[in-house]
Symmetry: C2
Subunit: 325 residues, 2 copies
């Protein structure tokens, strides 16, 4: 069996049925390992074919405690949707750390969508008020859906305020929130209505180097938590200045983005890495009135924390295609 690998298509990965609560749990455990300095995760290099913002990144990581290592090779091509192709594509190779042999090749689209939202939820666990019941979602695409799903696992959500410039996206999120999650979803027509009055806000639009800066000073209520899935794209300088705690998942990568790529220019200093929050090295929320923020970047560690669980479930369910090496 050591010379056989299991290929899992995007459908196989989804059909494995790994639930969001388990994804949040394993991602949090991964952050404990990171916070304790027990994850090997080198910088992610890549290639940039064509003009514009196309990229394909290699994201390697090794988590000894989970006996997981491998690489995610993920592309982002902004022009793909016009061609009827997904923006994000890629494969993940999962290896046996004891021998280096590949165990599985799997589509990484589903994993990327889910683990990104799970990291938001882990941040929220330490930074949002536990009784958070009202959530605002600005931009209702894939990450709008999965972030809502993830926050609903950890918080007693009741009300969703959904904003999107595209009506069909907002409608889709409303249907998902109402029918699948049983929440009260209101589609709002101005972005401020999806921010003010919310306990948790998720901004999940396109990632831009020059923020559109829609959200202004005083829109975010005191005591709110914001997960900036799209980095600082949604925030004006004055709104950012109101952050009491501005956090990220990985400081080295954050500083690289800030110093060399051009994101986060107007953002406050980093208060803590998520690994410091989950290991108690830094305190999460300390008062009812703090405005707390997570600007998580997405880490190879998260992918490697999730893929063994999918591999095991898929094997149990006889999903996928076994291939000779």
């Amino acid at each position: 069996m050591t010379e056989q690998i299991l290929y899992l298509s995007q459908k196989d990965v989804a059909d494995a049925g790994l639930t969001m609560d388990r994804i949040i749990d394993t991602v949090e455990k991964g952050f404990v390992e990171m916070g304790n300095g027990r994850v090997e995760m080198p910088p992610k290099p890549g290639v940039h074919p064509g003009e514009g913002d196309n990229f394909i990144h290699a994201m390697p990581a090794y988590i000894p405690a989970m006996k997981s290592c491998g690489v995610k090779w993920v592309s982002g091509y902004p022009g793909n949707p016009e061609k009827g192709l997904p923006y994000i594509n890629g494969l993940l190779i999962y290896n046996d750390p004891d021998t280096g042999m590949p165990l599985s090749v799997m589509d990484c689209t589903w994993i990327t969508a889910m683990r990104t939202a799970a990291a938001s939820a882990v941040s929220a666990k330490y930074l949002a008020r536990p009784e958070s019941a009202t959530i605002g979602i600005l931009a209702c695409g894939v990450q709008g859906h999965t972030n809502l799903e993830a926050m609903n696992v950890l918080f007693p959500l009741k009300k969703v305020l959904a904003f999107d410039t595209k009506k069909d996206q907002a409608d889709a999120l409303a249907e998902y929130g109402q029918k699948t999650l049983g929440l009260d979803v209101e589609i709002v027509s101005d972005p401020r209505s999806a921010v003010t009055g919310c306990d948790i806000v998720v901004t999940s639009g396109p990632i831009l180097k020059v923020p559109h800066a829609t959200i202004k000073k005083d829109w975010v209520d005191e005591g709110s938590f914001v997960s900036c899935v799209d980095f600082d794209s949604f925030f004006s300088r004055n709104a950012l200045a109101q952050a009491d705690k501005w956090t990220t998942d990985n400081l080295a990568q954050y500083n690289h983005y800030k110093d060399h790529v051009g994101f986060f220019i107007d953002c406050p200093d980093i208060y803590a890495e998520l690994g410091e929050l989950v290991t108690g090295r830094k305190k999460g929320r300390e008062t009812q009135t703090e405005r707390t923020f997570a600007a998580n970047l997405g880490l190879a560690m998260e992918d490697m924390a999730v893929c063994p669980l999918i591999f095991d479930l898929a094997k149990d369910k006889h999903l996928g295609t076994w291939l000779a090496l």
Copy 2:
């Protein structure tokens, strides 16, 4: 078809039947692209599970002229042979540069073995005497075989002097050289006999940070070319000092190995990168008496130059397994 990928096992890759002459040709074309600054090849990061020298490296590259991009994810586990597993294992993902979509996943063991030898041959084309007829092979494993095959494509080889501390390895090379390539192979019992008197020498033993330094001053004849597939492991300081031209395939990676990993400590300064030789920016061999050396490291560019040819042949021959993304 854009959402389908072709999986090629090690056997499928070999059965595609890509010949060494075509591999040398495409690798040389890749070096022309590199020499002209038209290849994107970031540093190769990796993870290092377990104790000792285990590694798994991500090797991404993009060659616009060949419409090829992708990543090789390759492991080296020195303890694997004791477990009955190969030292080197890995997979290569080949992407469409126009969309970022994966086209193929293929075993990279065969490609690694062949393209490494092809790079030796490209170096030899510019650094060895064209009439080279006698070749010494020190360490007769996989790279001993493929380097002999590659040199035999470009040079009028007649005589092979084979040295290995393991008799079965030397016997295997002798059989391959005689039966498959039609050469006169002599197994020699001391390493000097596989160096002195040779036009071309290939050292292809294990790569060591502390060289065993078997080869001494004056063993390498004037006018010889040496391909140091195992870096400087075979060479004493005084023998290295006799090099008239010491070259590599990639200066940045060479300097990283020298300054941060601990290889090449006693080696001469680099005279040229292979890309400079193939584009004529630096002269190759200039006299009949120069001692010339190549210490090539193995580049992701080489893998990405080879994989499209295998992909096309495999499709034509209906090899491999088509999978849904």
